[in-house]
Symmetry: C2
Subunit: 638 residues, 2 copies
């Protein structure tokens, strides 16, 4: 009768606690850089409860997370935490009271009949008790949720080189690793995503010394490590890669070797950026950004279909009550968070998470609606960041792209709203679309303008791309926008890979797959030709390798392992292999392979809890479905 016990916590609080840890984990050149937005706490006092009817005498032990105080209440009797408690046969009510200031209050119960699993409820002395949450990573009584229990893998250097009077260690790929340095004393080690960065002891992002006892440096992103003033052999250096074990389920093998390599490197890049949460990059920022996360949901649907990773991320981004600030302070990221919930729902049909988030979705939407001006357009407050993209918008007055995001968010809200509230969102969306058409559509230019107040009537790509993605432009107008905007060289090009994703998606929607494929090969193929082993935050094909590391005015500012650079996984899967869910959760799916691009194909994708094995050989298409084991396991948590 050996069954698993799980660490239990109040739903969402684990994510809020670990999101704080994640967003406070950025370190650069010796100082910490906690994320610059309102940071919400977690419940510090909860009580877990469960009733048992036992046919025999039993015993159990309750553990609590490091730093917690509390007690066990079995029927009317109090017991300390941490000691074995006997419980006779019969009907019993069990409660575990816990308070913890420094981390999420959580418990672990071990026993033959009484254990911590999905049957427990948890209360916070406010709302009705809810089912306690847990996950598959926290089943070991000795590893409590105060720190993430990373999986470790040892990497030896693939090259050790005497250079600049010191020794440079190179690993086969970028890692998030604790460098182990054995030898005399506690030398300072300089780390780099690139060889150039590690050797530049003045400007590299990370330097560290091993701990005297463990000989380990703190976990950091690295591919190169440089020890100045020592010869190869003076130290034994290894990297202990620390990662969250999320199996990659997708495989892509076509007759086009370059595409295969792009897919593989994209998958590797994305896996490195998939930790406790969907991160932007592993060197920088290591923050949970709503915009980046939304794009990652599209990739992850095809790559790992790990629902828990996405759920943790959406919970980490969810605003706390009262909702007074925007996700990451960014107005558009609040709207994008609402869209993300639909993207997640399309992948997994998880009604429970939507139900859990609904009150916050409503509050956040209410905040957004409260920021509408006299025309009904959403505008930023002084403390809000109206981002959309790094681009030269006409920012005088409401931005068209924000209105399109709001319209799309209202569609999502109407979709998930109870029937009685749906009309409100639908009406608001209809009215907004009318105003967008009246104020932002320029019939002469055949395009949406950025802003109307200045009278400049400037056109950029962004709003026009959103118009296509969100079906604000109908088919006819979408085709028009391809000419007037997307293929119009006079409209400034998108410069960020973040918005390039939306542009490529719009091109795919309009059927320009040849153009998209060419761009994939030029941009991602270009990085491969420069020797990239992970895909970068940004790439400019016109520059030589040594000029690629600079960004944001910092010589090594560019992240060389960045999640949004993994978008070929989505583009190839969705538009070229032609696979997409047709019902929420993907139990029904559509497969429309673009046969003209492939002579042979042998690939696998997760969809609706199954693994689809898709093959093309000698002009024959073949699809096999196999159930993914453990896909809907009880470990999924509530």
């Amino acid at each position: 009768m050996e069954q698993t016990s799980y660490w239990l916590w109040y739903p969402g609080d684990f994510e809020r606690y670990h999101a704080l840890k994640q967003n406070f984990s950025r370190v650069e050149r010796g100082f910490g850089w906690p994320a610059f937005w309102k940071s919400e706490g977690f419940r510090q006092r909860v009580v877990f409860r469960r009733g048992y009817t036992l046919t025999e005498d039993t015993s159990f032990t309750v553990r609590a997370v490091t730093g917690a105080v509390g007690y066990v209440l079995l029927d009317e009797q109090k017991y300390p935490i941490g000691k074995e408690i006997s419980c006779p046969a019969g009907t019993h009510s069990l409660a575990v009271h816990v308070g913890c200031i420094g981390c999420v209050p959580s418990i672990y119960v071990q026993g033959a009949c009484i254990r911590s699993d999905g049957g427990w409820k948890v209360g916070d002395f406010d709302g009705e008790p809810v089912f306690a949450a847990y996950n598959r990573y926290f089943t070991d009584p000795a590893r409590d949720p105060s720190a993430w229990a990373y999986t470790e893998k040892l990497y030896l250097p693939v090259s050790v080189e005497a250079v600049n009077g010191g020794t440079l260690y190179e690993f086969e790929t970028e890692l998030t690793a604790a460098l182990e340095v054995k030898g005399e004393g506690l030398p300072t080690v300089y780390l780099g995503e690139s060889r150039a960065e590690a050797l530049d002891t003045k400007n590299c992002y990370f330097f560290c010394s091993p701990d005297a006892e463990t000989r380990r440096c703190p976990r950091q992103a690295l591919r190169y490590a440089f020890l100045p003033g020592c010869e190869p052999g003076a130290y034994a250096v290894r990297a202990i890669h620390q990662y969250v074990d999320i199996p990659v389920r997708a495989r892509f093998a076509s007759d086009d070797g370059e595409l295969n390599r792009i897919f593989t490197v994209a998958a590797h890049t994305f896996s490195l950026c998939s930790g406790v949460f969907l991160l932007d990059g592993i060197k920088r920022d290591k923050w949970i950004w709503g915009g980046d996360a939304w794009q990652s949901l599209f990739v992850n649907r095809y790559l790992t279909a790990d629902r828990e990773l996405e759920k943790r991320t959406l919970l980490a981004l969810s605003p706390g009550e009262p909702v007074t600030t925007h996700v990451n302070t960014i107005l558009d990221y609040s709207l994008i968070w609402l869209l993300s919930i639909e993207t997640y729902f399309e992948s997994y049909a998880d009604e429970e998470l939507v139900r859990m988030l609904w009150p916050r979705m409503k509050s956040l939407t209410a905040l957004c609606m409260s920021q509408r001006d006299e025309y009904g357009f959403i505008v930023g407050r002084k403390k809000d960041w109206v981002f959309i993209d790094w681009a030269d918008f006409d920012r005088d007055g409401p931005l068209c792209a924000e209105q399109m995001l709001l319209a799309e968010a209202l569609r999502v809200m109407a979709r998930f709203a109870p029937a009685s509230e749906r009309g409100l969102y639908e009406d608001a969306r209809r009215a907004l679309l009318k105003q967008i058409e009246a104020f932002f559509w320029d019939g002469e230019k055949g395009a949406y303008i950025d802003s109307f107040r200045s009278g400049k009537r400037r056109v950029t790509r962004h709003a026009n791309i959103f118009a296509i993605l969100f079906d604000i432009a109908d088919d006819r107008r979408g085709r028009l926008l391809a000419d007037t905007v997307l293929f119009n060289d006079e409209i400034p090009a998108i410069t960020t890979p973040y918005f390039r994703f939306f542009e490529l998606e719009a091109l795919c929607r309009l059927g320009y797959l040849d153009e998209v494929l060419a761009q994939i090969k030029a941009y991602w193929g270009g990085m491969l030709r420069l020797g990239a082993v992970t895909f970068w935050e940004e790439y400019d094909g016109a520059k030589p390798l040594e000029q690629q590391y600079e960004m944001y005015g910092d010589p090594y500012g560019k992240s060389l392992c960045h999640a949004w650079a993994a978008s070929p996984i989505y583009l190839l899967s969705r538009w070229f292999v032609g696979l997409r869910p047709q019902s929420p959760g993907g139990e029904e799916y559509e497969l429309r392979p673009q046969t003209r691009f492939f002579r042979s194909l042998d690939c696998s994708f997760p969809m609706g809890g199954k693994l689809l094995h898709i093959r093309l050989e000698n002009g024959q298409w073949n699809v096999e479905e196999t159930q993914i084991m453990g896909y809907s396991s009880p470990c999924a948590g509530r």
Copy 2:
């Protein structure tokens, strides 16, 4: 140019963090007992800012609280925390970014010109930046606000006795002390507020072992310590009393030795219960209760006039947004918290704190108003505790005493409301008073009934006492209530010292000072006659000493050092010496000594920032005022 630097934090967050620590500090018989109400967090990410114009070059060092991450931003340049930073003459903007999960993010800046003091602002990435808060206890860079820096005083045992095969150590009074036990091994020590408790190794509340290195046990309430199985001399035992240094300013010496002794023991009791916050007791619960705290405000006004202690307590009790639960879960304590703010304001005229709390006062009042039934009466929800007192009320339907508290809270709200909102509260109060009169006043009985729904028309003292205290009964009716209720032996007596305070106050209001004095001498004098060195949570004159320790069904459940037992300080000062503030803050005051009770008097009380030295000798009254040094010091914080 040596000036003080202070640890800085976001106003209120220090109190929220330490309130969590306080409310989670209760320990009984080996298990922790965190308080059972919704426990709110603190801001985990803040930024401190200040501009400087320097006439000369300088340097400074920034420290952050244990566990914090962050950086210093001087103009455009980032620096790590903890290192000396040079700053040339000229105009500079300085920011310190800090994130901290486990405790209140706070900083300390040390330098000749640049230092952390009252000129800094702090922001939370949400509201407008506000002036950073600080206090006089945290000026040492080596003692950060993660733990309270207690003042220590060494106590040696006044008696060491061989008993029950072990050794019993007695101290001259009850202490909150870390017991130091030097000698062989790490023996288990049993502590007691009473000799009986310490010797009862099975049932005593606290047992502990010294830490191997420091030889100290955790800080606990104790007067007696018992080491079983050892002879006197086997161990060197001392108590290190750890307390918050709050000077007692009052002194009371009359020709009545018993009264003097009552005042002294009450002052000692109250001081022991005045720590970081105004606590109920030092052995139990060590929680911050709104009802107990309100009563303590009346005592503290006369005893220490330490505004900061009261402010910390009011902030610790303040509900977090969104306000969905009641103070300590108790409906009446929410209303009492509102009344407490007025009591505090009467003592110190601190408009700034009222301004800071006003949004929460409004939210809490709104919650209370939302709980009114069809008659306009406030009723508890399922999760609320409708307390009033441990008494046999007719609890069917709305309770009269709650309505009276609500009416009084509405008066307070109207008093502090901006002119535009005042009418709302006044109207609500008027309507409520009308309903109280219609539904709860029983003209035949000449008393307010508990509840009207059951038809029982039961009369208890509580609502009638509130009617007198809150001027709901006019003078004529007040005198009537004395006969029909207060001096009517058929109405069940008040059994708790908590409500006895309100009853004595009502009697004083009605002028029954002789009766009150007799009660003081019987009740508090009775405890003294049983050898009390601190006043107890409760006392029954009919029982012998050995039966006094039981309460709540627990053989040592009674707290022997309990704040609410210090009320003679207030009663004697306010009603017998006859001193009270006449303007908020007490700059104007009334002194109407009840001469018939004293032949001589020599006492001091703080009032309006001055110390009043009041003497009666040979029928002559004399009052001298001296300024209290440091009373309005900058250490007061904002």
